[in-house]
């Protein structure tokens, strides 16, 4: 860094006023003060530059030096990110704890990657080959399941030269050069930097045609999210947002999970670290941690880094997408990010809009969610980034600005409900207020993979649940005894659907994940019972007789039995037996 005259003029929380020369470029990285705290330029006027710093600013004083760089805030991308845990600006927390102990110290600048580790690298390219941006030039096995594909930076073109042989290399070793038309040489290494606030380019956006299969019945069946789509989970505290995020991170069929703890609890990150190391991916059999990257900027860590953390997470997700992987990004919680935005905006004395959030909140949210998508990458592969954002509305009131603005940019909405959570109905996704706009796009996939008739059955259970909720209005007033039998049947079937199907126990050994095939079996059996029971009611046989056989409560437990290997035929027979028992009694 060259010498300069920039110095601190003022300090107000994480907002630092810098003077001492022409104003610095917007969004560029600067190091502030004697301890060199990293920060980013957020506004400038005349000879004054305003910087937000990513660490606690106590100890900074007027006239301490400021060190500008002309780079934007970037993250170093390369092999070794999987199963790692970073803070909001991609500093490796494990190595920080080795250096500084259990409490986070100030002014530690460490690269995101392990600079010493040797990787077994295979090179895909030869001397003189044409090089284009995004092209894969080297491969290394990052974990058992994931091959890391190193790509030519998107804006480079030319010919490869001085290509190294296959072998063991560090992330900083030059593996080849690219010579462009003018003869300028650019080195290629396993690691590359990318500015966090710029989305990585790709060839084109593809339509969303496949769901993210999660093994969670209520999501897969009723409110799926497409691969490359966006979903939001709003809910009051205690409704289980984090649990849903954890379940999706564990069981969804993405290749890579980026789990972003943004302004949330420290113990939750510890839990992910502990649990994911032990759990195995149901599809590949490898430990879940090997496909996971954690970004932890807990609620007590600096607020400006919280603002940056979602961009750091997104950039890492896009990087793996460009290798041709399906990435799911869980952001828990986007409300904390919005609050960080509000806090900084307040310190900058900007004009507040609704609930004193800055007026640019919607455009920032849009900018974030629009980085999701199912893409054709520059190298011709297919990859996707699916974003699942938790929203923590104040007081559980969905009319607040973050929830409302988020709703404009997502297409799957999982509304968590406090009253369901109080009744310990988990996941507490309310089936009347939630929605998924992706279903029509991915219907074809369901018919091919879940089985034909899925769409019809799905519609049927939506109808039953819908009818039940209007019947419940009456039941609340006069009790269920007075209802006619066909309506009682709706209520009994809906109860099976609610308790047996929609409720899923995340802590149960087998119920925590259910394969599409078994989900289909459950739907078929429940609807089979419904249809058969309906026939009974038309013969004016009292429904109570069927209820007394215990068949409805047997189906409550069907999910556990299926998990232990029971088959569809067994349950169909169970239904048939109870039906014939009742018929026999009435003959």
């Amino acid at each position: 860094m060259e010498t300069n005259n920039y110095y601190i003029y003022g300090v107000n929380g994480p907002v630092i006023t810098v003077r001492g020369g022409r104003s610095l470029p917007m969004m560029s990285l600067v190091y502030v003060g004697n301890v060199r705290i990293p920060g980013e330029v957020v506004s400038a006027s005349g000879n004054t530059t305003i910087v937000q710093v990513y660490e606690d600013s106590s100890g900074l004083s007027k006239d301490q030096p400021v060190f500008p760089t002309d780079k934007p805030m970037s993250v170093l991308l390369g092999p070794g990110m999987l199963s790692n845990i970073y803070d909001g600006i991609a500093r490796p927390l494990r190595r920080i704890s080795e250096m500084a102990g259990s409490f986070i110290a100030k002014g530690i600048t460490l690269p995101a990657l392990d600079m010493e580790k040797l990787w077994d690298v295979k090179l895909d390219v030869k001397e003189g080959m044409d090089a284009s941006g995004g092209m894969v030039f080297a491969r290394t096995q990052e974990s058992d399941a994931i091959e890391h594909r190193s790509m030519v930076p998107p804006d480079l073109q030319g010919k490869f030269t001085e290509v190294k042989p296959d072998g063991q290399y560090k992330v900083t070793d030059v593996l080849a050069y690219i010579v462009d038309e003018r003869g300028k040489k650019y080195p290629l290494t396993l690691a590359q930097e990318w500015p966090i606030r710029r989305s990585r380019p790709c060839a084109k956006r593809l339509p969303i045609t496949r769901p993210l299969v999660t093994g969670q019945r209520v999501i897969d069946t009723l409110f799926p999210v497409g691969k490359g789509g966006c979903a939001a989970i709003p809910g009051p505290f205690g409704a289980g947002k984090t649990m849903v995020q954890h379940q999706l991170a564990k069981w969804s069929d993405a290749d890579i999970i980026v789990y972003l703890g943004c302004g949330e609890r420290g113990n939750e990150m510890t839990q992910v670290l502990d649990e994911f190391a032990e759990l195995k991916d149901p599809l590949t059999g490898h430990p879940l941690m090997e496909r996971t990257i954690l970004i932890a900027n807990t609620s007590n860590m600096p607020v400006a880094a919280r603002e940056a953390s979602i961009y750091t997470g997104m950039t890492i997700a896009e990087y793996y997408r460009d290798m041709g992987y399906h990435v799911a990004l869980m952001a828990d919680s986007t409300s904390r990010w919005a609050e960080a935005l509000r806090e900084i905006s307040g310190r900058l004395e900007e004009m507040p809009a609704e609930e004193s959030f800055p007026a640019y909140l919607p455009s920032r949210l849009a900018g974030f969610y629009e980085r999701a998508g199912y893409m054709e990458t520059l190298s011709g592969l297919e990859g996707s980034v699916t974003v699942i954002g938790a929203v923590s509305p104040q007081g559980g009131d969905f009319s607040e600005p973050v929830t409302q603005n988020t709703k404009r940019f997502i297409r799957t909405f999982w509304a968590l409900d406090r009253s369901l959570a109080y009744a310990r109905h988990f996941p507490a996704i309310n089936w009347t207020t939630s929605y998924s706009e992706y279903f029509t796009d991915i219907k074809g996939w369901y018919e091919d993979n879940f089985g034909s008739g899925f769409t019809r059955m799905r519609q049927q259970i939506i109808d039953i649940l819908g009818k039940e909720s209007s019947l419940m209005e009456i039941v609340k007033l006069i009790g269920s005894d007075v209802l006619p039998d066909d309506q009682k049947l709706i209520i009994e079937t809906a109860k099976v659907l609610r308790q047996g199907y929609l409720q899923q126990n995340a802590f149960h050994k087998t119920d925590t994940y259910m394969s599409p095939a078994n989900q289909m079996v459950m739907l078929e059996v429940i609807l089979y019972l419904y249809d058969e029971a309906k026939k009974l009611t038309t013969k004016s046989i009292p429904l109570n007789q069927l209820v007394d056989t215990g068949i409805f409560s047997a189906l409550y437990r069907m999910k556990f039995d299926l998990g232990e290997g029971q088959t569809k035929d067994y349950f169909i027979k169970l239904v048939d037996d109870s039906i014939s028992k009742v018929i026999a009694r009435n003959e």
């Binding site: 107000n12 606690d56 409490f103 990150m269 806090e343 310990r424």
Partner: protein, 458 residues
């Protein structure tokens, strides 16, 4: 060389500004000497060129703009610490209130602390038994957890907190434990109540108290929990104590924060509270936890009185988003004369699932707790139906639920203020009550557990 600045350029609320100051750093502690020799303390909250803004802990009453001298100490606010703080009483900024001398420090620590690296956190798993059925069975407190009590004005939260302190124990009783008690803006009576209770139970020698009374300056109220938590961290992670921190009343703390924020001229957010209240509360609550390689732990039980019993008010709301669950007290139960008036349904302990059950408490703990929630929730439905059509018109099963609800409240939730139930007693009592219901209604319990614990007829 000691530099003193004479005079102030602005005063407002507890905020003062000085001009022409150099070499002062953000968050630094300042000593302000009045004409008569009285000394007050302040903290740098803003630097704007040569203008420095200070917040004065003891308030600005009696300050004369021209006749004060300010000295900057060159360090942030630190708390003198040594093992002898046990048994002592301090004010909100850490000065002795018990007439004894200042602490002779082994160490001085910045009261703001620093964040625990998430990698170094040890996931809390060992449960603390409080001997209170409604907490142990359904919202178990785990060591290293932050579990607030959401109460309202006039409810028996203080009695409950005192009972928790008296009875709390872990499976392993040989470990050293300590209590840090922090009062923020409470009435003298409340502080006396706790002092007396600690004395009677013989715990006083293990208690450190930081007291900021309702009439004390609000700035000190903002410092009090930070001092308390710094002391707790010191005892836990330096001396290996298991520390239980009681913070009461967080509502007064938040109101002090609001008052302070508005005197700084900040843009208010919901209900006038500052927009950084979430981060501010998190910087307190997140100081609970356990650390790899350290013997001790910090467990927090903050108490807050919900204004107008409204759980969606910003104070309980933001708290609930940070803490690992909550114990909610219900005015309905309180009015029925039930002690402790713990509302089971909205209460929750997020860490409970990992610290109960086989290997931690008893194999049936989790199932029982789930079933109690589900069945009690059915009681609520039955009651609301009964309020429309009358209890007589209810179906048999709904009548049973109403009866179950009554007995659960009378036998399970209700207990004496000195009654210490073992976990066995609590769980067995739970099964006894659940056995009133037909077996088919207990959908949350596995057959294996039902075979073993269900005592009903069918």
């Amino acid at each position: 060389m000691r530099i003193e600045y004479t005079g102030l350029s602005e005063m407002q609320g507890s905020i003062v500004a000085l001009e022409g100051v150099t070499g002062v750093s953000y968050d630094e502690l300042a000593e302000i000497t009045l004409d008569g020799g009285e000394r007050r303390y302040g903290r740098v909250i803003k630097i704007d060129g040569e203008k420095v803004v200070l917040q004065v802990f003891e308030g600005t009453v009696g300050l004369d703009m021209e006749h004060v001298n300010t000295h900057f100490t060159g360090r942030p606010i630190t708390l003198p610490l040594s093992k002898e703080i046990l048994g002592r009483i301090f004010d909100g900024s850490g000065k002795p209130l018990d007439g004894l001398r200042e602490v002779f420090p082994d160490e001085r620590r910045d009261i703001n602390g620093s964040a625990i690296n998430p990698v170094s956190r040890k996931y809390p798993r060992s449960c603390i038994l409080t001997g209170i059925s409604s907490i142990d069975a359904t919202s178990t407190l785990i060591r290293g957890q932050k579990l607030p009590i959401f109460s309202g004005a006039g409810m028996s939260h203080n009695e409950l907190a005192a009972q928790i302190v008296r009875q709390a124990q872990t499976m392993d009783q040989s470990e050293e434990f300590a209590i840090v008690f922090c009062a923020m803006g409470v009435k003298n009576d409340t502080a006396e109540f706790f002092k007396k209770d600690f004395q009677e139970s013989g715990a006083l020698g293990r208690v450190v108290m930081y007291l900021n009374m309702a009439s004390d300056p609000i700035i000190e109220r903002i410092l009090a929990p930070r001092c308390a938590l710094t002391a707790a961290e010191y005892l836990a992670f330096y001396h290996g104590y298991h520390v239980l921190v009681i913070l009461t009343d967080m509502s007064s703390y938040c109101e002090a924060l609001r008052e302070f924020s508005s005197s700084k001229g900040e843009i208010p957010s919901r209900k006038g509270f500052p927009s950084y209240m979430y981060s501010d509360l998190a910087s307190l609550y997140e100081r609970a936890g356990m650390i790899y390689g350290e013997k001790g732990s910090v467990t927090q039980v903050p108490i807050l009185t919900m204004p107008n019993d409204d759980i969606s008010h910003p104070i309980p709301d933001l708290t609930g988003y940070i803490t690992e669950g909550q114990i909610v007290l219900s005015r309905d139960l309180e009015q029925k004369g039930i002690y402790p008036p713990v509302a089971i349904l909205p209460s929750l302990s997020r860490l409970m699932k990992d610290g109960t059950g086989e290997g931690y408490t008893r194999e049936d703990h989790a199932d029982l707790s789930n079933q109690l929630f589900a069945s009690y929730s059915a009681v609520t439905d039955a009651r609301s139906l009964a309020s429309v059509i009358g209890e007589d018109e209810l179906s048999e099963i709904d009548k049973l639920y109403v009866e179950f609800g009554k007995r659960l409240e009378a036998e399970f939730i209700t207990q004496g203020i000195r009654e210490n139930r073992t976990l066995e007693q609590t769980l067995d009592l739970g099964w006894k009550l659940l056995s009133m219901l037909p077996r088919a209604e207990l959908g949350r319990v596995s057959d294996k557990m039902l075979d073993k614990y269900y005592q009903g007829s069918k």
